[in-house]
Structures are given as C-alpha cells and as structure tokens.
Symmetry: C2
Subunit: 304 residues, 2 copies
Amino acid sequence: MNERDALRALTADLPHAGDDAAVVDGTAITTDMLHERTDFPSRTTRYTAGWRAVGASLSDVAAMGAAASAAVAVYADAAFDREELSRFVAGAVDVCEAVDAEYVGGDLDEHVEFTTATTAIGDVTEAGSVTRGGARPGDALCVTGEWGRSAAALRLFERGGEDDIERANELFRFTPRVADGLALAGTATAMMDSSDGLARSCHQLAEASDVGIEIERDAVPVHPAVEAVAEDSAERFELAAHFGEDFELLCAVSEAEIAGVREGCPSGLTRIGTVVEEPDGEAGPRVLADGDPLPDRGFTHGDE
Amino acid sequence: MNERDALRALTADLPHAGDDAAVVDGTAITTDMLHERTDFPSRTTRYTAGWRAVGASLSDVAAMGAAASAAVAVYADAAFDREELSRFVAGAVDVCEAVDAEYVGGDLDEHVEFTTATTAIGDVTEAGSVTRGGARPGDALCVTGEWGRSAAALRLFERGGEDDIERANELFRFTPRVADGLALAGTATAMMDSSDGLARSCHQLAEASDVGIEIERDAVPVHPAVEAVAEDSAERFELAAHFGEDFELLCAVSEAEIAGVREGCPSGLTRIGTVVEEPDGEAGPRVLADGDPLPDRGFTHGDE
C-alpha cells in the first residue's frame, strides 16, 4: 500500500482526519514529519530547516482559518551538534514569531538521519474553522501569494553557487499564511494549503467539496524567482502549479466577497478560476486549466 | 554532545521547555518520538505500540495536572501494511478513550524503521498547572500506581513464550494518569511523570525545586508482575526504581493534604518519602534512599 492509499484508509477510520488540521474543542492541531534525505537539499541550513519544518505545521493551522498559538518539534539526528541545534531552534522561534505564535520546545532523539516531527496548534475564532469541503459551484477560486518559490529554490540549490544557496535558503523560509487564513475565515467556503502543489490541491479541494474546478493558467501568480530559473511559460506553469511545497492558501470565495476579503490578506488574494458543478460520474475530469484536464500530479523530479 | 546535555542546552534557550509539557494560554502541549529499535521489543504488537506511544504523550499532559483533550501521531515505516496501521490507530484511539481524550489522526511518512512521533494537548483547569519546581521542604513525596511494570514486561518479552509475550504487551499498555493528575492539580506543589524511572525522576524534581529528597525503599509500591521476574528484593527495587517508562506520577504534597487528595486518585497515592532542605552546595547527595545516596541513573541494560 502506498502512502496515498494508506492516508485514504486512515481518513476512513478517523472522523477528524483528512483536512489540513483536526479541530477539537476549538483547537486546531496538526503534525508532520520531515527528513534530511527527502525534504532538505544538502545545503539547507539548520536555521532554514527549523523555520520550514515548523512553518509547514503552522501553514496547516492557517489553512483552517485558525490563529496559530504554539508549536513543538522533535529534533532527531545521529549526533547532536550544539550549534546546529541552536540554529534549528532559532528558525523555529522566528517562524513562530512571524505569525504571533510561540515555539515552546519539544524533544530530542537519536536517529540515523536528521529528522524532525513538528506539531502546531491554534485557536479557532468566532468566524469558525474552514474545511476543504464547502466550495459551491459559482464560487471564485482564489490563492494567496505567489507560486513556485520552492521550485525555484530547488533549482538554485542544484545550481550551487554561494549566492544561489543563500537565496535558495531565503526562498525556503516562507511566511505561513496565518493572517490571510484568519481574514478568510468566515468568508471562504473551502480552504487548504498547497503542500502538494496547485494542481493536486485543486483536485483535493474539488473532491472534498464534490465540485469541479476550472482555472486559467495565466491567472496563477508566479513568484519572480521562477522567472530566473524557467526557460519558457510552459516550464513556469509546471514549476508554479505542480511542484508544491509553496505553503500558500487555496480557497473558494463567493464572487461578491472577493474585494472585501482581499483587503485583509497581507499576502494578496488572486482569483485564478471558478468552482463549477461536479463532472458527471467518475468519467469527467474534475479540474480543467484553460479547458484542458489538469493532471492530478506533483512535480516530475526526473531521475532522482 | 549527548542527548542529556543537548536537552539542558535547549532548556536554557526556551522559557517553556524543561517540564513534562509546555503550557501556552491554558493549553498544555508535549511531543515525543519513539523508534522500533530502541523503544519497542520485537514482539510488541502495533496495537500496543500505538497505545504506548500516544500514552507517553498523554502521560506528560497528566503530569501537568491538565485534562487531556486530543492527540496526534506521525506513523513512519519502510512500507505501509494496512493491518498494522489500523492496529496502531486502534491502540491510539483506545488509549485516548481511556483518558477521555480524542485521537484525531496525524501524518504518514516513509522511513527506514518503524518510528512514531506523538503529540498530546490538554486544558489546564481552574486549579492551574503543576510544574516540577514547587516542592517545599516538609512536603511528602508521593507516587501513583505501582512501579516496575515496564521492566517486568521487558523480561517477559525476553523470555518469549506466547503467554509471556501476551502479558508483556498488556503490561506495556499503561493507563496514563490523567485522572490522578487532575485530582492532584491545585494540591501537589510539584509533579512529573516517571519516564526516566523513579531514581532519575527524584533527582529531576529535586533539582527543579532546589530541594533534597529522602525516600524509603520499602515504601515504593512494586507492581505484582515484578515479583514474578525478580530474584530478590534488591532486584525488585532495581526494576521498580531504575528502569523507568512506567509513566506513573511522582509528586510533592503537604502532609496534611495526602488523605484528602488520595480519595480522588483512581490509581492510588503512596507516600514514599519526604522533601528536605537542599543539600549544601554541589557536594551533598540530592536524593537519599534509606539514608544512602540514590544514584541518578536509569536501568543498566547489560551488553545491549
């Protein structure tokens, strides 16, 4: 059984699973695990790793429209280097501060490779939490921020010059969209973060809401860093829509409310498409981009 | 730097670290990571592993005197077996139910060996939370439950008969002392759980409270399962006091309040010693057992 099937099976067992975070008694809670080999290119600094790992969990809290309050992390490695550990903690503290949450420590563990498991919690406000399942035909599909920064960062890590590495680390340290999520709570009919990329996230939101989605390729806001690494517009869209790990928010909002809610979103809110009726049966494609089916896939990593 | 020194260094960096759980805005939060190789003997069932891993985090919430509300877990393995995953989740669900909390899922990850990272949260009640740092000379030192069950379980795992393995799994599935912790909140001056064993926990509580501790060996309540595996009283005490991972509570309570608070503790509350003045300088032993220094060490695992 692969990870995706296993996740599906798990979701069937647990009523609260299957969204970005679970909500229990007004508290959103979410957890993730990241590994050196699969999640952190070799010249990711420990400061960046701490920021990004804890940020990924804060992003899940943001996607529920909750106010992030605290995060913890397990830091596991084959050996403990005082400097590396301090830098990890500094990154974790700083990303929490960026969203008015508090990093409160965690646990250490010996492990064959650098591994971190992070958990964030947040308070659901009076506006309530937002799931993936409430989008309605006719809603506008909107996104926060600009897309493709993690893809661009990976290219820069691969290029490997000193400046490239420094910029790549900067790009990896995203600001979790907690403020935007809070602005959207009560207005967005469905919301999620984009850990798996725009294309896959559109499929997930459409499936959870029993709707279809139509997007326009040119409407997707592409991060400036993508321009510097992509050869043409097809590659730009590939990096912005399929790579993932941008940790932006994807949401459905009624047309009439876009302008009002955009005011409250510090990262901006861009309309990229429309929520439509669910396609007939299993046959029709759930997500279209400029009228063509948008495949439910992440980035193709080539031979790696 | 070893794990203990690294933890000390971390505690200095983070104001909330260093207790069983951090408390932020009335919510206690704690996280742990466990591995197949180091934490689960080879015939630990996945049901038991789910129970025990999530239980360890619930125990930390209990140690703060908070009401456990929810838990999440990352489940990582080299491959996902549907049955094993379901059993793990069933154990996690059941240990949460045993303490009136809710297991709300988590994350899956591919990893070289079975590894789980668990997080639990809980609500601090009006009685407030209890740290390790408030014990006062003259307080009675008390413990919940009976000690040595995990040590006995390990012996049974090693012995390896079918009945031994079944009994060992049962012993590994402890009930986190949430109800006892809630009863003790507001009365106990200091409290912690016994993940590192009675001896080490006494040292930790004494250090955090700037006091000394004197215990009586015969007063320590030993789990009946220890009788069956220990050869003599010295070995019984070794298993009950040094092995650890019993997840009982250790607390300081004023003498006058023991009887009253004991009523509310479903696992029982046994007085095993007294909190005394801090020994002079660094020289004196912090913890005495029957007048002799009680070493600050966990179980000696022999050659393993």
